[in-house]
Symmetry: C2
Subunit: 200 residues, 2 copies
DNA sequence: CAAATTAATGAATGACTATTCAGTATCTTA
DNA sequence: TAAGATACTGAATAGTCATTCATTAATTTG
């Protein structure tokens, strides 16, 4: 047999990897298992990826690219900082909550090594934190966010809350939707960020 | 040779494991490496632990026991909810920030498998979340925390911020102290929790 | 002090699995 | 349609490492 008959094998392998790794974890998943689910021979994996670890890296890349594309597409119009922050929270929970297997990998599997966290993952998270930071600075300029907050710190705090919600959702067996936390999160974070002049 | 000449071997092995696993990650660390650093033979490890994974579990247990002991010892006197929350934040950052190797393990290495996260780790985090939740309920009864917040949600949000600070600290090479974030965190979280009646 | 008991050793085992590569099938081109 | 290129296969390889256990050493007991 030969020749890419149906779909893109690269994609098919990544899709298979998501399912297998989510189920068993990266180290318990063998290359053979991924190959089997993808419907290719073991050796074929190595025509598309240099080694097993690169599958994980590619997985993260693909997810992050989608995340950013989708994000940009849906964030553009938001005018003020509060609207932007609302949108980011909504988007984050929506996108992570969309695919549980992928979420297992980003929230759990991918954090398994300093090496990895430093290399791929944190660089991307860093970009995300920068975007958040800029929104916070904007809000401070608009006078709606407290001026005394360190934007870098605040960005991390926001990310921390979102990330914990995501992890909690992944680990809970219940059949809730992650999106359902959007209101609570927005409420809590805005309370922490906004100036009190508009108080109740 | 024989007979526990110097210290408790169980402890010595765990101490060695912390260093080795922090350096290389759990899967890159061999039992032989741990044995070597602990100054015992490979086989000796198995007189104290059923298998390699149990070393990781025990590590977490020991850390958590210390965390709780220290916590109880230093939390007892705090009277109102705000004081308690301040103390918890301070304590969390102080205890995690005390030992970087251990922090690498709790913040990174330990999160590498759903299996583990479900079993050991999350059960303990659950207890911690309960304590936080109770403090928040107390604050609501005292009238200082917003009554409309879901305590369970709020506890997770608080934990999320603390956990993100810890992870960020572990992954940053800079020589900061984690404790130095105490003020910012307290400030941010109280703003999110407190009623606005006491405004500005 | 001679059994008997306990603690520890570390070389050998056995299982596992990432990766390779010689071979096979399909497709393209001239 | 024959030769060449391309894509894929999957059995074999080679290395790694958790775990075992026969043996040795120290300690205790009678």
């Amino acid at each position: 047999m030969a020749r890419n008959s149906d779909g893109n094998k690269h994609e098919m392998i990544l899709d298979a990897a998501v399912v297998e790794i989510a189920q068993r974890g990266f180290y318990q998943t063998t290359v053979a298992m991924i190959a089997k689910r993808a419907g290719v021979a073991d050796g074929t994996i190595y025509l598309y990826f240099a080694n097993k670890e690169e599958i994980l890296f590619s997985l993260f890349d693909r997810a992050m690219r989608r995340f950013i594309t989708e994000g940009n597409a849906r964030l553009g119009d938001a005018a003020n900082a509060v609207a932007k922050l609302r949108r980011i929270i909504e988007l984050h929970l929506q996108l992570v909550g969309q695919d549980r297997d992928l979420a297992i990998i980003t929230q759990v599997e991918m954090r398994h090594s300093l090496h990895f966290m430093n290399q791929a993952s944190r660089a991307q998270v860093g970009q995300y934190l920068e975007i958040l930071g800029r929104v916070i600075v904007q809000g401070q300029k608009e006078g709606v966010f407290r001026a005394d907050l360190d934007p870098i710190f605040s960005a991390k705090a926001v990310f921390g809350v979102l990330d914990e919600m995501a992890t909690d959702w992944v680990l809970s067996r219940r059949n809730t939707r992650l999106e359902s936390k959007t209101g609570d999160v927005t409420d809590f974070l805005l309370a922490g960020l906004e100036t009190r002049s508009r108080a109740i």
